[in-house]
């Protein structure tokens, strides 16, 4: 417990940032999914066969494990927010579509007959009667989707989109249960809050819901647009793997670079993901620099028959040569800082070994 309090005291701002990232990824995904699923259900409400086909397709998509889906998306759209949002949208479409469709198709036939007999136009019937009557079902679809999205969005941290998953991954990698709990509990609380918020929205009239949705779209779009415009011309992105050492290292680089040339803006992406994600991100240009071990380069990144040697100098030279020839990447000089390992043993075990 004291560990958790300590985390909140020391990393309060970072946590707030992660919550913000988590919420924006989730909301954007929900909005896109709703914009796809609800009109689709309205279009298909009178075409049972087509609707069932779509329902089957979305159900199949639902069965793809989220990790696999993220893996499939990386070569197509790279890493970061975009593949995360795509994956989340894919998952969220099905509950929203299914609920909207069944909400619209289970309206009392007497009410349909009445609307028909009064000579209401198709659009009037839809806006005044069918959608309002299907609203409770649509809202419950949105709630299911939102809870699912907030839960699944923790995996976005794996591919560098940030969010509360960062703390869960970090907690697992550094064997820090407090961090893990912070990430997990906060995302659970977010899911509850948003589920309640959506239920609250459902009590409003169709017009007010429209206004809220429009405001959200403008806000999210505005923030995204501002980010694109506000980005200075020369930016260097330095990313780091999970854990505290890479974070310290990349911030040292940031300070050094910015001191050297004040016109360059350096953004850091700490706890960006695992080795292969960072390596792919570097190759695709999503990030510019990240610190990597010479041994890891030889063992997992480049193709070589020779493994790492015990000579640091020779290992670096080989890694540098192979990275250049195979991927055209530049491997900068090793730092003065060196990461070494020590062994801790209990006296009993030591005796057994000797």
């Amino acid at each position: 417990m004291s560990g958790i309090i300590h985390i909140f005291k020391t990393q309060g701002n970072d946590i707030l940032n992660s919550i913000g990232q988590h919420i924006s990824i989730s909301l954007v995904s929900l909005l896109i999914a709703a914009v796809i699923a609800i009109p689709l259900a309205i279009l298909l409400m009178r075409h049972k066969r087509a609707a069932e086909f779509i329902l089957n397709v979305t159900s199949v998509l639902q069965t793809i494990p989220s990790l696999a889906l993220l893996g499939i998306l990386i070569p197509l759209v790279g890493i970061g927010t975009v593949p995360s949002v795509i994956a989340l949208v894919v998952y969220a479409v099905m509950p929203i579509f299914q609920n909207t469709y069944s909400g619209l198709t289970t309206i009392d036939p007497n009410l349909e007959e009445a609307a028909e007999a009064f000579g209401l136009s198709r659009s009037k019937k839809l806006l005044k009667i069918e959608i309002p009557l299907a609203m409770p079902m649509i809202i419950s679809g949105l709630r299911i989707a939102m809870v699912m999205i907030i839960g699944t969005a923790t995996l976005a941290a794996l591919i560098g989109a940030g969010g509360l998953g960062t703390y869960i991954l970090l907690g697992i990698e550094t064997n820090n249960n407090s961090l893990l709990i912070v990430g997990a509990v906060l995302s659970a609380i977010l899911a509850l809050i948003f589920s309640a918020l959506i239920r609250g929205i459902s009590k409003l009239s169709l017009r007010k819901i429209g206004i809220i949705l429009a405001t959200l779209v403008v806000l999210v779009g505005g923030v995204a647009g501002y980010r694109v415009i506000a980005q200075p011309k020369t930016t260097i992105t330095i990313a780091g793997k999970m854990g505290s050492e890479p974070e310290i290292l990349i911030n040292m680089y940031k300070d050094l670079i910015e001191q050297d040339n004040p016109n360059i803006k350096v953004t850091t992406k700490a706890n960006f993901g695992g080795t292969s994600f960072l390596y792919k991100a570097l190759k695709s240009g999503s990030i510019d620099i990240y610190p990597e071990f010479t041994g890891t380069v030889l063992e997992s990144l480049v193709k070589t028959k020779k493994g790492a040697t015990h000579d640091p100098e020779a290992t670096y030279e080989l890694a540098k040569k192979l990275l250049k020839s195979q991927e055209d990447l530049e491997y900068l000089k090793p730092m003065k800082y060196e990461n070494g390992y020590a062994w801790w043993l209990r006296r009993v075990s030591l005796r057994n070994i000797i």
């Binding site: 009392d108 007497n110 009410l111 009445a114 007999a117 009064f118 000579g119 209401l120 009037k124 005044k128």
Partner: protein
């Protein structure tokens, strides 16, 4: 005038013809009642007028113009429709329910408001109290009042009513029968009314069409039907229901009840003994108005005395 010429209706999944060579005319301003047992095709006939059901062959015209030549939406906006199960839109207030056709007709807000208020007053529902309520806050009888108002709101020439009172309790049914008679007298509209209840048909209809198995058995004014039933079926259908439904008039005539000084009554003497029995289950006495506008108090004892005498 609505006219059916050699109209047939055959459903695909059914060998029997639902409507078989139907010919009839409904005059402007008439209170036209279609009556018959279930499966007689009366509701099918009604729904063919606003094209909810399409005839297989034959021609239906309104004022000489084939209904297929009308713009469907425009034609329906000019017709009122009352459903058996009321079917008020549960998501809309009473006022919004009433003004749904006027809104589609693009009437101004003031005019719609005015119509809703006037009509609610006309059917005995205080507009200030009811207009902003939701349908589920109203009793069944009140809801069907609104259902009728909704059908009248666009000031249509034709109002179609599909067994509108069959799901209501006897008191409400009685009150609403009186109400539609009053409304028909006040407003210059053609009412086409479907019922399976011969008493209701006789009480409401100026012209009555009796149907069986897709055929028209007899059509005529109320007097013609009552006094000159054309064949055994009409006679039997009439008699059957008359016998089934013994009139409260008999109890009042036997003086087995007290006159009370009231204006409002639960039932009229034209109602049935079964209605009385139904009401006595939930209240101690029932007030019945006789044709001379006097009100009588009928108790369980009156009913028992009547039944005992009837057995003699």
């Amino acid at each position: 005038m609505i006219e059916f010429k050699n109209v047939y209706k055959k459903y695909e999944n059914n060998n029997n013809t639902a409507i078989n060579d139907l010919n009839l005319q409904i005059k402007d301003g008439d209170f036209f009642v279609l009556v018959g047992p279930s499966g007689s095709g009366k509701t099918t006939t009604l729904k063919m007028i606003n094209r909810l059901i399409k005839q297989t062959s034959g021609e239906i015209t309104i004022d000489g113009k084939n209904i297929d030549d009308f713009n469907l939406q425009e034609m329906r906006l000019q017709m009122g429709y009352v459903l058996q199960n009321i079917a008020l839109f549960p998501n809309m207030t009473i006022e919004d329910n009433i003004t749904i056709q006027p809104e589609s007709l693009k009437w101004s807000k003031e005019k719609r408001h005015q119509v809703a208020w006037d009509l609610l007053e006309k059917v005995g529902l205080d507009p200030d109290k009811y207009a902003k309520r939701l349908p589920n806050e109203l009793s069944g009888g009140e809801q069907q009042r609104v259902g009728i108002v909704r059908a009248l709101a666009s000031n249509p020439k034709i109002v179609l009513m599909d067994e509108p009172f069959s799901a209501l309790d006897p008191i409400s049914r009685n009150q609403l029968q009186e109400l539609v008679l009053k409304l028909h007298a006040e407003m210059n509209m053609t009412f086409v009314f479907v019922t399976h209840d011969m008493n209701e048909a006789v009480r409401l209809g100026n012209t009555i069409a009796i149907m069986r198995l897709g055929h028209l058995e007899q059509i005529g004014t109320r007097d013609e039907i009552v006094h000159n039933p054309k064949n055994n079926f009409v006679n039997g259908f009439f008699k059957n229901q008359q016998n089934d439904d013994k009139k409260l008039k008999l109890i009042i005539d036997s003086q087995d009840c007290q006159q009370v000084d009231r204006q409002q009554a639960d039932l009229s003497e034209e109602d049935n003994v079964s209605d009385l029995a139904g009401l006595l289950k939930i209240q101690d006495f029932v007030l019945v108005k006789s044709s001379d506008e006097r009100v009588w108090k009928l108790t369980t004892q009156s009913l028992l005395n009547y039944l005992a005498r009837d057995g003699e």
